[in-house]
Every structure is written in structure tokens, then in C-alpha cells.
């Protein structure tokens, strides 16, 4: 069934003329050691936000174990040649600063924010963490045990279990298939593993530093050169990863979560990287399908049918591949009904042209949303970082809105046909097997797993 036709608002005031959207000027440069630097002013508050990225993460070292890059990031803040863990935390507080270190598939990063008046000492601390982390044995051991508890705990979260299974299905032998380590893998981590990951990944030639905030870029650049200029190191060699599988036909992967009072649905297929020329049109098509509150999927299975609170769809870009996915946590008795609507709305976009007013609404939504990032230092940092990390054209931010507005209904239909591959979509459901298996089986052959990821027989 289609979403119920809605009445139209009476006399809503028209939009007034738009004010110009202007992105702040960026200072882009490269230090002689290869470290790339991007600086931009934003004088909203007397603070600045920054992130020091390294262009490698779990995928590069996945032949060794899973999660090593993440633990390396966690432990690097627990001691340097000059400071203990406690000193680091207290120094951060003294500078009014927040700091986090993390790693994903393609990047490792130290992110931070602090008062402008203490910019230099904060950058000195970041520099120390990036170059002189000591990986103290006791700190490593504590974080490893901590990680062990975390990996047990995450297996009780339906959202985690669904995401993990979909990634395994979509990426097979490719490193992107592995999102979290097993208990055995964590138990086998060695301190030396972290040190070698650190030496390999955390190098200036592999680094991108982005700073946004209340500072003068020229003065800031001098501070950066002073602090990071004498650092040396080459970027790691890249490796060829195995190709992900060719998936033909729909299959259902049921993760049995005993006692579940709801079912987490996650369906998906591989899509494209951020650099791909179709990225913007896929973004708009996704937004119209399930990426916005006002999207077709949300209006259908939430506002019309009340199956779920938080349905959404999204496109996830990784460096080598990407994927499209649709998620909804639904009542146990409407799993089949929800899947039916999810596919119905996908197929509708593949077969019928989007009416012009709906297209215009979606274009307005995406272009408007884009401007929100201008209002905060963090928002600007995110946009500048994305542009650099995904190697997008220099004028990406400035031209994005025009590119969205140039798309036609025919473009969207072609995009849906190309990427909303409904005949070959993979279906993950996490819930109580007894309540949902029959419903799930209507959509394809079912494989059942326990929450440890092991296959269960029929």
C-alpha cells in the first residue's frame, strides 16, 4: 500500500530570498615532511576544534588481527616518554580540552578541542601522543581486559549484531567484513603488536591535520611548523585486499537473540565510495527513500503504519567500497509486513518517476541541511575533513548545492535502478527465532546464527 495521501497545508508563508551560503576560506598546505595541513577561521567561541588523521586503520593491518588499530588508538593516550596517563588527563583539564583517539577501517585519528588561549600547549600534547606514545605495559593490559568486557557486552546489542552480520555478508574475504574482534583475538593481543601498528601508521607523510576555530591561520601555521616540522616518517605501503563476493539473489540471515521483544531489521547491498561520480545522486535518492524524516519509508512504516520508531536508510562510504542499507527495529509480528514495505518503496523508486514537487522538496532538504554545518566549528571541521580524506575536488563544498539542484527525476530513477538492487538485497533480522523465522523465510532462504556469530542448524 502506498503512503496515505496527505492534505496540503493552507497558507504556509513562502520562503523569503535565500541568503548566500559561503564556506570560510581554507589555508591548505603541506609541511616539508609530507604532513598535510588545513586551517580555517571560525570565531563563534574562543575555542578551536582539530583532528589529526592518519590515512590507515584496521583494513591495512587486518592480516594480523581485528581491532588492533583501535586498541592502538586507545592505549596511545595512556602515556608518553614525558607524561604518565594521569598527567595527560590532568593536563587536558588544565587546558580546558577534550581529546579522543580512535580508528576505523581506513583512518586512525586523534581529535581534540580546547580554548584558543591554550592552543600551543594542546598541540604540543597532541604531537607527543602522535610521536612519543610509550604504550606502558600496565596500561596496555588494563585496556586489553577492558576491551574483553566490551566485546562480550556488544554481543547483547541488537544493532551491533545486525551490523556485524551485514558487513560479513556484504564483504566476505575483504577486511571490511570484520568489524569487531572475538574474545580469543583480544586475549591474544600483544603490546608489541600495538607498537608496530603505531610506528607504521602514525607518520607525518600519512598525516592530515585539520584545525577550525578562533585563531589567526598564519600565526597558527607557524606554531604547527614549530611543533610538527621536525617529525619524519614515510607512509605505509598499501596492500591489495581480496575482492568482496558477488551476491546473487536475496538471502536471509537470522541472528537468534533469545527473549527479544522486537526485531532489528537491516537490509543492504554494496554501493559506492565517496569519490564516485554518482555519490551526490545516490545521496539524494537515499534521502528521498529513507534518509529524512519526511522520506517515503518513514512516512510509510512509521507515520502511516506505526510499525517502528526509527526507520532509516543510509549510504556508508569506505575508501575502497561502500554500501547502502535500510534499518528498522519493528514489532515482532510485523517483520514480514515491514520487509514488504521496505521492498515496495525501493521498487517504486526503480519503476516510477519521482513527481517534480517531491524532487524539489528533497533537493531543498539536502541543500539546506548542508548549510547547518557552517554554524559550528565542529560542523566545519567535519566538512573539511570529509573533503580531504575522500580526496574530493577542492570546490566540492562550493559546488555541492548546485549539483544537487541539477538532478532530474530521470536521474533518480536511473540511480535507484543501479544501486537499489532489490532483487539481490541481503536481509539480516535479529530477534527471537521462534517468533520471526517463518516471516523471514518468505523473503529468501534463511541461515540462522547465534549471538556469538556461529551458525545454528535447522
Amino acid at each position: 500500500m502506498a503512503t496515505r495521501a496527505s492534505e496540503v497545508a493552507i497558507a504556509a508563508p513562502a520562503l523569503t530570498p535565500e541568503r548566500p551560503v559561503t564556506w570560510p576560506k581554507r589555508t591548505r598546505t603541506r609541511l616539508s615532511n609530507g604532513m598535510q595541513v588545513v586551517l580555517a577561521e571560525a570565531h563563534t567561541i574562543p575555542k578551536f576544534h582539530g583532528e589529526l588523521f592518519f590515512r590507515a586503520g584496521e583494513a591495512l593491518i587486518s592480516d594480523r588481527s581485528v581491532g588492533l588499530a583501535e586498541l592502538t588508538a586507545t592505549v596511545l593516550r595512556t602515556g608518553t616518554a614525558k607524561r604518565t596517563s594521569r598527567q595527560i588527563e590532568e593536563d587536558l583539564r588544565r587546558l580546558g580540552a577534550d581529546l579522543g583517539a580512535s580508528a576505523g577501517q581506513d583512518t586512525s585519528a586523534i581529535s581534540f578541542a580546547g580554548l584558543s588561549e591554550f592552543a600551543e600547549p594542546l598541540l604540543e600534547l597532541v604531537n607527543e601522543l602522535a610521536r612519543e606514545a610509550a604504550f606502558p605495559e600496565a596500561e596496555f593490559e588494563r585496556e586489553r581486559r577492558q576491551k574483553l568486557e566490551e566485546v562480550k557486552l556488544e554481543r547483547t546489542s541488537p544493532g551491533f549484531l545486525a551490523g556485524e552480520r551485514l558487513r560479513k555478508v556484504l564483504f566476505g574475504a575483504h577486511p571490511y567484513a570484520r568489524v569487531s574482534p572475538s574474545e580469543e583475538q583480544v586475549a591474544a593481543y600483544k603490546r608489541e603488536d600495538l607498537e608496530s601498528v603505531y610506528r607504521e601508521i602514525y607518520t607525518p607523510e600519512n598525516a592530515l591535520l585539520v584545525l577550525v576555530g578562533d585563531f589567526d591561520p598564519q600565526a597558527m601555521l607557524r606554531i604547527i611548523e614549530k611543533i610538527f616540522g621536525n617529525w619524519e616518517g614515510k607512509k605505509p605501503a598499501t596492500k591489495e585486499a581480496p575482492a568482496p563476493p558477488q551476491l546473487r539473489g536475496r538471502r536471509v540471515y537470522l541472528v537468534h537473540n533469545p527473549g527479544s521483544v522486537q526485531t532489528q531489521i537491516l537490509v543492504g547491498c554494496r554501493a559506492i565510495t565517496r569519490k564516485h561520480p554518482d555519490w551526490i545522486r545516490l545521496g539524494l535518492t537515499n534521502s528521498l527513500y529513507g534518509g529524512a524524516f519526511n522520506s517515503r519509508l518513514v512516512m510509510n512504516i512509521r507515520e502511516d503504519k506505526g510499525y517502528t520508531y526509527s526507520p532509516r536508510s543510509g549510504v556508508t562510504p569506505l575508501r575502497q567500497h561502500g554500501y547502502f542499507s535500510v534499518s528498522a527495529a519493528v514489532r515482532n509480528d510485523v517483520v514480514a509486513a515491514s520487509l514488504t514495505e521496505i521492498f515496495y518503496e525501493l521498487d517504486k523508486l526503480r519503476s516510477l518517476l519521482v513527481p517534480a514537487p517531491e524532487l524539489a522538496d528533497a533537493q531543498n532538504y539536502l541543500t539546506g541541511l548542508f548549510s547547518m554545518g557552517l554554524a559550528t566549528q565542529e560542523g566545519l571541521l567535519t566538512q573539511f575533513s570529509t573533503t580531504e580524506l575522500h580526496e574530493l575536488p577542492e570546490d566540492y563544498l562550493e559546488t555541492y548545492r548546485d549539483k544537487v539542484r541539477a538532478l532530474t527525476s530521470a536521474d533518480l530513477q536511473a540511480t535507484a535502478r543501479k544501486y537499489f538492487d532489490s532483487a539481490n538485497l541481503q536481509i539480516v533480522v535479529v530477534g527471537d527465532r521462534a517468533q520471526i523465522e517463518e516471516q523471514a523465510a518468505l523473503f529468501g532462504e534463511v541461515e540462522v546464527f547465534d549471538n556469538q556469530g556461529k551458525r545454528i542448524g535447522a
Binding site: S6, V8, A9, I10, A12, P13, A14, L15, T16, E18, R19, P20, V21, T44, I45, P46, K47, R86, E89, L92, R93, R94, G96, A113, L115, Q146, K152, L153, T156, S157, P158, G259, S260, Q262, A292, F293, N294, R302, E303, G306, Y307, Y309, S310, A329, V330, R331, D361, A362, N364, G368, L369, S371, M372, G373, L374, A375, T376, E378, G379, T382
Partner: protein, 434 residues
């Protein structure tokens, strides 16, 4: 750092607060009503939140789905949230949609128009919200839903704020209209505009769209005061999915804006300020009893009745609950006996000031700028009738002395001022040590 504030009160009692800046061509609009889940009707637990959903279901000139559609198609985002003492509705839009958004907010303040079908639909949606956030999640609702019935005796503070499903089922359209007429009157609300807005233009538009709305009778508010507590309170809840034993310890806070409150908020930062906080440092980093130890005062400026500073601990199964609690108590005792150093206090103040700036600038998610500033201005207007506090309140924290921290630690961190909830896994893998 000073926030420029322009404001007025319309004839119908609606307060209007405008805080302009020219950073980006974006404006954030909020309407706060002074009613939250604390004072929702008895026998209708969860109603304030269910009602919040109904506010997106249609008003006289903008039927169902039009509200969401008009904001999204203007390039903006919207949401609402129900808190203890206020409920908010907010939009961040390109500034050329300001007038349209004000029209929408005024339309639903003037004439909510919903039917049985809308109510049935949103009742289903809310149940799935409760399932996804509470019933089907490890540690769902812990401790925010587990703590109130243990800590408090007045129904207002002690009931299930998300709502028992039987109460949600019992909620009728009559309840919806009555709640709307009682609390959603302009004289019980504040309208806020932040960002790219000309103050004169904003005031004119506010008058144009909200001016014609009829004032209502001043809403009655039940007294949320608690009877005096004389001993520690404890409660137990089963954890269905998680593998680690957990506990939450809540201490009742001083009244907002008293000198004790300023000191208590900094003490909270000493105890819970991230990895440098004493609780995390002792329990997670040093003694390694806990996997998580965090928490604190949830919404420093946004409560207007009994509230707590709550520590949330997930500990390793090889430590008993009593051992864990003893380690936590030792952290508190150290502050009570030795106070904190001037150096530590100075650090806390720098960090607090820095965090405050971020609150003023920052958003909710990446797409809702100035949410924090809006929230502060709204609460200072509705609770204190003094939006200017946003520019002066920081001074009160920066003036706190070492001795005051130690004094509030002794005065408030006492067993007869606290409640403890133990959330224990039923999962067989997670046996607790004897």
C-alpha cells in the same frame, strides 16, 4: 563571551527571546512549554511524552505530515523532546524559512487538530520507541527509569516517565485535548530564535503569528516536593541481556542557583569529569574494579524540582556489589576528609568554562546548531524569568572556593541523601562473586 539578547512578552503572556548572530545563514527556532513528565496526570504515566508525539500529528492549517514535510522541504530539521519540567519543539532551518517555521509553531500552539487514528498510530510508535530504547536493549533505561521509583516518594518524581503500556493504552483523545488546553497556552511557554535573525524582524513576526493566540488560565502545578528522607534507599532490577552487574548511586541535589548548587556542580565535575574524574580514575583506571564509572548531573540548568547527581557503574563480575560500592564510597570519603587542592579546583574551572562555551555554540547532532544556547535561554526564562543569566551564570561557578567544595561533599554526599539501584544480570555467564 556575551550573547546579545532581545526579548519581549506578548499580551497573551508568551515570552519571546532572540539571540542573533551572523555566523551562518541558519536560524534555530524553539518553543518550550513549562510542562514535562514530572507533572503529567496520575494514572497517565508516559503521557507528556506521548503528547509530544501528538504535536507532530497535525494542527488546524497544517494537517498530518505537513509539519514535518514543510520543515524538511525548507531545508531544515526538526524534533521535540520531553524532559522532567519542560517539553521542547525545535527546528533548525535556512534563515529564509524563519517565517514559515513561526507560522507552523503558532498554528500548533493555537489549534492542535488530531484524531483517534493519529493517536493509535503514535501509541504504536511510542511503544516501539520504548522497546528499542529500553525493553530490547542491554541496560535500557538504566538508570534514568530505574532510579526514580527507588529514590523518590512523591508520584511526580517517582513514576515511570516513558509510561506503562497499560497507561499508554488508556490515554484518550479527551486526555490529549485537555492536556493541550491546560498546559499548551502561550502564557506557559517561551519562543526562541537563535542565529541568523534580525531582532526587530523576529519580534514583528512573533507578534504577527503568536499575538492572536488566546491566553489561557495559568496552569495549576502539583507540588513536586519530597518528604524528608531519613535513610539510604535501595532497589533491585533484573538485567535481561547484559553480562555485567551494574549499579547506580544517586544523591539529591541542592536547589538550583543556591551557593551550594554552584559548589556541587563543580564537585560533580571533580567526581565525574571524564578520565580525569575521580570516580573513573579510581574505579576503572587504578583499582580496575569497574568497566564503566561515569554519570553526574544530567542537565545542570534544566530541572525545576527534585533531581540527582547519579553515578553509573558497570563492574567486573569477580567483584561483589558491596566491594564495588565500598570502593566508590572511598572516593567520596577522600573529598569529604581532605577536600580538593587549589590546583584541581583551578583545572575544574578552566574545563567548566571551556565546556560552557561549547554548550553555547553547539548543537544536538551535527545539524541542530545552538541547541545548547536555546536550552539555557529557555530554562532561564521559564524557571528564573531571567534569560540574561546566560551571560552571568558562569561567574557563580568561577567564584567557588575550595572549602565550599568540601562542605557540600559533607552536606550532600550522605547515605540518607542517596538511593542505590542494583541492576543484576539474569544471564548465567555473569555470576557475581560472593
Amino acid at each position: 563571551m556575551q550573547i546579545p539578547i532581545h526579548g519581549t512578552t506578548l499580551k497573551n503572556g508568551l515570552r519571546v527571546v532572540i539571540a542573533p548572530d551572523t555566523i551562518a545563514p541558519v536560524v534555530t527556532v524553539g518553543v518550550y512549554y513549562k510542562i514535562g513528565f514530572r507533572l503529567e496526570p496520575q494514572g497517565r504515566s508516559g503521557f507528556a511524552h506521548l503528547f509530544e508525539h501528538m504535536m507532530f500529528q497535525g494542527s488546524e492549517n497544517a494537517p498530518k505530515m505537513q509539519h514535518i514535510k514543510l520543515v524538511n522541504s525548507s531545508g531544515g530539521v526538526l524534533n521535540g523532546s520531553t524532559m522532567y519540567d519542560v517539553t521542547n519543539y525545535y527546528e533548525a532551518v535556512p534563515s529564509n524559512a524563519l517565517e514559515r517555521v513561526l507560522w507552523l509553531e503558532a498554528d500548533r500552539m493555537r489549534a492542535l487538530k488530531v484524531d483517534e487514528e493519529n493517536l493509535a498510530n503514535q501509541r504504536d510508535v511510542v511503544k516501539e520507541e520504548v522497546r528499542v530504547n529500553v525493553l530490547n536493549q542491554p541496560y535500557g533505561g538504566f538508570p534514568w527509569l530505574d532510579m526514580p521509583p527507588v529514590a523518590f516518594r512523591n508520584w511526580a518524581n517517582a513514576h515511570n516517565f516513558y509510561g506503562d503500556f497499560a497507561d499508554l493504552d488508556a490515554a484518550s483523545l479527551v486526555d490529549v485535548q485537555k492536556f493541550f488546553r491546560t498546559y499548551y497556552v502561550p502564557n506557559n511557554a517561551v519562543l526562541l530564535m537563535l542565529g541568523d535573525v534580525n531582532p526587530q524582524e523576529g519580534l514583528t513576526l512573533a507578534e504577527k503569528y503568536f499575538g492572536p493566540i488566546q491566553a489561557g488560565t495559568a496552569p495549576p502545578f502539583a507540588d513536586p516536593a519530597e518528604p524528608p528522607q531519613t535513610e539510604e534507599r535501595r532497589g533491585h532490577v533484573e538485567e535481561k541481556f547484559g553480562t555485567l552487574p551494574a549499579m547506580a548511586i544517586g544523591y539529591v541535589l541542592p536547589k538550583r542557583r543556591t551557593s551550594d548548587w554552584y559548589a556541587m556542580v563543580l564537585l560533580d565535575q571533580a567526581l565525574h569529569g571524564g578520565r580525569a574524574g575521580r570516580t573513573h580514575r579510581e574505579l576503572v583506571l587504578e583499582k580496575q574494579i569497574a568497566v564503566e564509572a561515569d554519570g553526574g548531573v544530567d542537565d545542570v540548568f534544566g530541572y525545576n524540582g527534585p533531581s540527582q547527581m547519579t553515578t553509573r557503574i558497570l563492574h567486573k563480575p569477580e567483584y561483589s556489589a558491596e566491594q564495588t560500592l565500598a570502593a566508590f564510597d572511598a572516593v567520596l570519603r577522600e573529598v569529604q576528609e581532605k577536600g580538593i587542592s587549589q590546583e584541581e579546583l583551578d583545572q575544574l574551572k578552566v574545563k567548566w568554562r571551556s565546556d560552557y562555551y561549547s554548550t553555547l555554540e553547539g548543537g544536538r547532532g551535527g545539524t541542530m546548531p545552538r541547541y545548547g544556547q536555546m536550552h539555557l535561554l529557555a530554562c532561564f526564562t521559564l524557571f528564573d524569568n531571567e534569560p540574561q543569566l546566560v551571560n552571568t551564570i558562569l561567574d557563580g561557578f568561577l567564584a567557588v572556593k575550595r572549602e565550599e567544595i568540601q562542605e557540600v561533599a559533607k552536606k550532600y554526599l550522605r547515605p540518607e541523601n542517596r538511593a542505590i539501584v542494583f541492576r543484576t544480570p539474569v544471564n548465567k555467564d555473569a555470576k557475581e562473586a560472593a
